[in-house]
């Protein structure tokens, strides 16, 4: 039976041809040279990339324009429990829709983006800044409200399509609320008008009794 011609060493030569092609290829074009020297050259992160959360504020006042209403939904849902919120109370102890303390502990945050999904007010979004190297755990890696708050324009800067979509449905939300308010108002006015009308109707026939009924 005809044994196939066995040339020991041929397979190794074919393998060396592949490495040679890669070595020469690496001098022509980036297909075979895919590393970049990091701090100087940087890869542009794709839009969806998520690293650590940040709070969005509208307008230019980081304190007042904050969208967050301290509903603490994200604190409850966060799997590693790294968010800590202390809502603001006005003088007579009633909750105002604003957090006094909003801390995120970057030591344990795994950027899983669940807080963004559960936030009903589109107030917490994922940033794509990842250079947070620091020397201490708690002083510099626990971000407070002031470090977290970033403007909506910054949000448009890093995630244009997502930001416009968010603005669109916020706008729609506002309109819906405005219409609802308008409708409620109209209904209220209509009810008052009706109440005034029947009060007036009651008044005209029996002139004697006073309007105790309103």
């Amino acid at each position: 039976m005809k044994q196939p011609l066995i040339l020991p060493g041929l397979g190794i030569l074919k393998g060396m041809a592949v490495t040679a092609r890669n070595m020469i290829g690496s001098y022509y074009g980036r297909k075979r040279l895919h590393t970049i020297s990091y701090p100087e050259e940087r890869l542009a992160l794709p839009e969806n990339s998520r690293n650590f959360p940040f709070l969005v504020y509208d307008g230019d006042d980081p304190e007042g324009g904050l969208r967050c209403t301290a509903c603490r939904m994200c604190e409850k849902e966060c799997p590693p429990q790294v968010i800590y919120i202390k809502p603001e109370r006005d003088e007579n102890g009633k909750l105002t829709k604003h957090p006094t303390v909003f801390d995120i502990d970057l030591n344990a945050c795994m950027s899983c983006q669940i807080c963004v999904e559960v936030c009903p007010f589109e107030s917490i979004k994922m940033d794509s800044a990842f250079e947070y190297a620091a020397y201490e755990h708690f002083e510099s890696l626990v971000l407070h409200k002031s470090d977290l708050a970033k403007s909506n324009t910054y949000y448009h800067g890093i995630k244009p399509t997502e930001a416009t979509a968010v603005d669109a449905n916020l706008e729609a939300e506002r309109q819906r609320k405005a219409e609802a308010a308008a409708k409620k108002e109209a209904a209220l006015k209509a009810k008052q008008a009706a109440a005034a009308a029947n009060a007036a109707a009651k008044e005209t026939p029996p002139t004697s009794d006073t309007d105790a009924s309103d």
């Binding site: 800590y84 202390k86 809502p87 801390d103 502990d105 030591n107 755990h137 708690f138 626990v142």
Partner: protein, 211 residues
């Protein structure tokens, strides 16, 4: 996009028939069907520890089943449940006659540890047969026969159950702790397990004071 209409693989016999066949083949075996209320429709077959080896060997070697692959072995810890149910008690009602009286009685159902085996047949490509084996209680009588002699794949999984739940598998060739170090006491995955010392874990950043 064509959906290949090739032969649908052999469907597994419904659990009821399998139970009948087992009872026929092994008269002494004591097993009952545990229905699964969820939509997944995977009912399970509970077998007494005494006859589990015989039933398992039958399921593996019988021509009609050939469950030659034990995919998954899971330990489950069922705590003691206090079940309150209304029970008919003979008593005298307000008018003095002996009549049936509705009375709420607290009854404690003793908890148990359980090993759940998911068996598949590679030869006949049939779906999971869920086999449940329960221990007597959660403290001293935690011995059930190991199925490693029948399916080698249970070896590490049974060691893990012994490590995390404390079920002792008799007949297991090498029963040691799988994940914990050997001098570890206690079985961490039990529902009533207290981790030894909370202060070891370093304090979190914002030290949980009350709001």
């Amino acid at each position: 996009m064509k959906t290949k209409a090739n032969s649908k693989p052999e469907q597994m016999l419904p659990l009821g028939d399998i139970k009948v066949q087992i009872m026929a083949a092994l008269p002494g075996a004591a097993c009952e069907i545990v229905p699964n209320p969820g939509p997944s429709g995977q009912d399970s077959l509970r077998v007494e520890p005494a006859s589990v080896l015989a039933v398992a060997r039958f399921l593996r070697d019988d021509e009609r089943h050939l469950f030659d692959y034990c995919s998954n072995v899971t330990g489950v810890d069922w705590l003691d449940q206090t079940v309150s149910e209304t029970v008919k008690v003979a008593g005298t009602d307000a008018a003095g006659q002996a009549t049936e009286l509705e009375e709420k009685v607290e009854r404690v159902v003793p908890g148990y540890l359980e090993a759940v085996y998911h068996l598949y047949s590679v030869a006949k490509k049939t779906g999971p047969l869920v086999l449940r084996v329960r221990t007597g209680n959660r403290s001293d009588d935690v011995e059930i026969p190991s199925l490693t002699p029948l399916w080698r794949s249970c070896e590490f999984q049974e060691r893990e159950i012994f490590d995390l739940y404390g079920i002792r598998f008799s007949g297991h060739p090498d029963l040691r702790r799988l994940l914990m170090w050997d001098t570890f006491e206690g079985h961490p995955m039990r529902k009533d397990y207290q981790s030894p010392d909370e202060t070891l874990a370093f304090a979190t950043a914002n030290g949980k004071e009350d709001v």
